[in-house]
């Protein structure tokens, strides 16, 4: 079974530029997550989708970050304009949704390492 795919793996941009990250979840996983992992910290959830709808974006800096999941499969996360403090690894994860409320394991992609100069 293929895992969560992300691209690009690395990106270097200058502040005030725009950048976009792409994620393809595991086939059949209805829930998709974007996490931000700043160096020396644990990942922090930015946004969660179930199918193509947003269920939690409370920690997404909406003035500069946006995300979409058209057709409920692939997702893109965009930053416009980027700031120095956006330098981080952006992790995408996906999980199944099952009946009964059981929480399913999240499977992570390799991440995109962003450096903003």
């Amino acid at each position: 079974e293929a895992g969560v795919a992300q691209s690009p793996r690395y990106k270097i941009i200058e502040k005030r530029q725009s950048v976009a990250f792409w994620c393809n979840p595991i086939s059949g996983h209805a829930t998709l997550y974007w996490y931000q992992q700043i160096l020396g910290q644990g990942p922090k959830l930015l946004i969660q989708f179930q199918n193509n709808g947003v269920v939690d974006d409370s920690q997404l800096p909406k003035d500069r970050f946006s995300a979409e999941r058209l057709k409920g499969v692939d997702s893109t996360l965009k930053i416009q304009p980027a700031k120095l403090e956006d330098s981080a690894v952006y992790l995408c994860a996906s999980s199944l949704v099952l009946a009964g409320g059981r929480k399913e394991t999240q499977y992570f992609g390799p991440g995109t390492r962003l450096l903003v100069l």
Binding site: Y35, G42, P43, Q48, V89, F108, P110
Partner: protein, 115 residues
């Protein structure tokens, strides 16, 4: 809000030895899940073990086991017979049992296994 604390930034152990990584958490929830994730230098986060709070029995996965102390809000990870491939960052994480499936992570413990 839930918080997860990992008080050991770095740990070292020799091959074949046993090491325990500590994790404490703070929550008012009664229904929740706890996880240990491993993040090797390649940065792919991998699930090591999970524990449902309603289960009294500690979870085990081969060489990995947890000591779940619900009253003390403690969730430590024991790695037995350490191997070089266990070298990685280890993150403890919390998830509420209801509502959104949001993982709250600790700051991680860097484990180095040496020959």
């Amino acid at each position: 809000a839930q918080t997860v604390t990992q008080s050991q930034p770095e740990m070292s152990v020799q091959e074949a030895e046993t090491v325990t990584l500590s994790c404490t958490y703070d929550t008012s929830e009664n229904n929740y899940y706890l996880f240990w994730y491993k993040q090797p230098p390649s940065r792919q986060m991998i699930l090591v073990i999970r524990q449902e709070a309603y289960k009294q029995q500690n979870a085990t996965e081969n060489r990995f086991s947890v000591n779940f102390q619900k009253a003390a809000k403690s969730f430590s990870l024991k790695i037995s017979d350490s191997q070089l491939g266990d070298t990685a960052m280890y993150f403890c994480a919390f998830m509420k049992g209801t509502g959104f499936q949001k993982l709250v992570f600790g700051t991680g413990t860097r484990l180095l296994v040496s020959p």
